[in-house]
């Protein structure tokens, strides 16, 4: 059953990307570029930075609400990958020799860098997830092609996307057939798993051959051509430029610090 669940999870993410909202309608190129700049801006902060990262949450929050995305589903996705970030940062508090005092407490500066890592991780993953959930995969591939990715890679990605679902469906059928005759044994034995993977591999090779012959019979001569010709609209340019300006503002001017000095100034 576990495999089924994962399959439908990916399917759900894929279905989300075909919704029709203002965010989904934006040109994929605009979204890819702004997401890349967003991620670069977030990871470029020094390792003890926390306060300046907070305003960046504005982007995922806005895109999620305008893109009509299910928040709980995305949070679950973020948590699934979070062990990587936790593992990366968990030893910082032990090994960092700097210490910081906060009122009467003194603790390792590693806690700060750990928190910073978690924040950066949450921001970048949620940005990537929002991009995937608001842009259809073919649209994204086309954007990458337009942005200069070699067409060979783009065709590879397109085939990956097309046959990921076919392969997963095939795997699901095998796993179901196995479960039906394994009579309550929960774990799949390793030699059974090895055979399943082997037979999947053979099926894949055979399918690849059939696909290739289908491509040849439709005149394939080495280049995958596409009819897509999306025009960039003024809204896309407006979105990209304004987003990049705000990202720049957040990157070079720490809003919380400015806000803090403002309040302090008012209090004095």
């Amino acid at each position: 059953m576990k495999f089924d669940k994962e399959y439908f999870n990916i399917g759900r993410l894929d279905l989300l990307s075909y919704q029709d909202t203002p965010v989904h309608r934006l040109d994929p190129r605009a979204k890819v570029i702004t997401t890349l700049i967003f991620i670069l801006a977030v990871v470029s902060f020094p390792k003890y930075e926390i306060a300046a990262l907070i305003p960046f949450f504005l982007f995922p929050v806005l895109l999620i609400s305008f893109g009509d995305l299910p928040v709980g589903f995305l949070i679950k996705k973020i948590l699934i990958v979070s062990p990587f970030a936790v593992l990366t940062g968990m030893f910082n508090p032990l090994f960092d020799e700097n210490s910081i005092s906060f009122f009467t407490l003194t603790f390792s500066a590693g806690w700060i860098s750990f928190a910073s890592i978690l924040l950066k991780y949450t921001l970048t993953i949620s940005a990537a997830l929002v991009l995937i959930a608001t842009t259809s995969f073919p649209g994204m591939c086309h954007a990458l092609r337009k942005l200069g990715l070699p067409s060979l890679f783009v065709s590879q990605l397109l085939f990956l996307y097309r046959y990921l679902f076919v392969l997963m469906e095939e795997t699901m059928k095998i796993v179901r057939a196995h479960d039906m005759r394994s009579f309550g044994k929960q774990r799949m034995q390793s030699h059974t798993a090895a055979r399943i993977i082997g037979s999947l591999f053979l099926r894949t090779v055979e399918r690849a051959e059939r696909i290739y012959s289908a491509m040849l019979s439709r005149g394939f001569q080495g280049d995958v051509l596409s009819l897509r010709q999306e025009r960039i609209h003024s809204t896309d340019i407006l979105f990209a430029i304004s987003t990049i300006i705000v990202i720049g503002l957040f990157r070079w001017h720490s809003l919380p610090v400015m806000l803090g000095t403002l309040i302090q100034g008012a209090m004095l």
Binding site: P138, I211, R218, L227
Partner: protein, 261 residues
């Protein structure tokens, strides 16, 4: 849902100006690299406008014959003539323009991520302009009753829709000869009936390999029986498909419509 309309198909059958839609196999032998002798001297000649069913047991060589028709496999011995061209490595591309091959499994046929990209694949490879290709896509999808699916990804289609789009992807190339491998497999009875009705209106040569003998009886006036890589019978479908002994020798049985209950 029925996917095929009769009148739209007629735009494809075109004029009778072309008279070279001939498929001729002359003593074709083929051996797979693993040593299986799949074809051991197949000869037949299919002339313009004929509808021919190819039947036979599993493993008799039907699919191997179809794979030869567009040069995906080349005969080890013997020759194949498509239209006015002899099939060689040099004429393969030309032959593929003439012969539209619809594969049995639409997941193999639909390899592009969206319906539009998939149906346009052939026309674009034929060197058509984007506008002309778009027009072809529109007509082909109209024929199979799938207009409006252009931007759907292939894995969001139902089985019947996939089959219909797979056929559209071949129609968009406007082939002279339509070759189909088990076209009605996985179709519900209504879609199957719609497919049969559509095939009947197609006036160009068509070659259909199938175990669905009722479909062959309905669509094809001629029928070729293959056993162990040779032609064991070739004649009118009515005669062959009512010959119980011949059919049983080939792991087949009388079409349901000819069985007496």
């Amino acid at each position: 849902m029925a996917f095929f309309t009769r009148d739209a198909w007629n735009t494809y059958s075109g004029s009778d100006a072309v008279s070279h839609h001939i498929v001729e196999f002359k003593d074709v032998h083929f051996r797979y690299p693993d040593g299986t002798d799949a074809l051991q001297g197949v000869s037949f000649r299919i002339t313009h406008g004929e509808a021919v069913g190819i039947v036979g047991a599993n493993g008799s060589g039907k699919s191997t014959i179809l794979m030869h028709m567009n040069g995906y496999l080349m005969p080890s011995k013997g020759s194949i003539i498509i239209g006015d061209l002899e099939l060689t490595r040099h004429t393969r591309q030309e032959v593929r323009r003439k012969v539209g091959l619809v594969f049995q499994n639409p997941d193999d046929q639909l390899f592009m991520p969206t319906v539009l990209d998939d149906v346009a694949f052939g026309p674009l490879n034929l060197g058509m302009s984007p506008e002309a290709a778009r027009q072809r896509v529109h007509e082909a999808l109209k024929t199979v009753n799938c207009l409006g699916f252009e931007h759907k990804p292939a894995h969001h289609l139902s089985g019947g829709q996939k089959s219909a789009v797979a056929i559209a992807s071949v129609l968009a190339m406007e082939p002279d000869i339509l070759v189909m491998d088990e076209p009605a497999a996985n179709l519900d009875p209504r879609s199957r009936r719609a497919l049969i009705n559509m095939l009947k209106t197609f006036t160009h040569s068509k070659i259909i390999a199938s175990h669905d003998l009722d479909l062959i009886l309905d669509v094809c006036n001629r029928c070729i029986v293959i056993r162990n890589g040779i032609v064991v019978a070739d004649g009118l479908s009515k005669t062959i498909l009512s010959n119980e002994t011949l059919l049983e020798e080939n792991n087949l049985e009388l079409p349901l419509s000819l069985q007496r209950r």
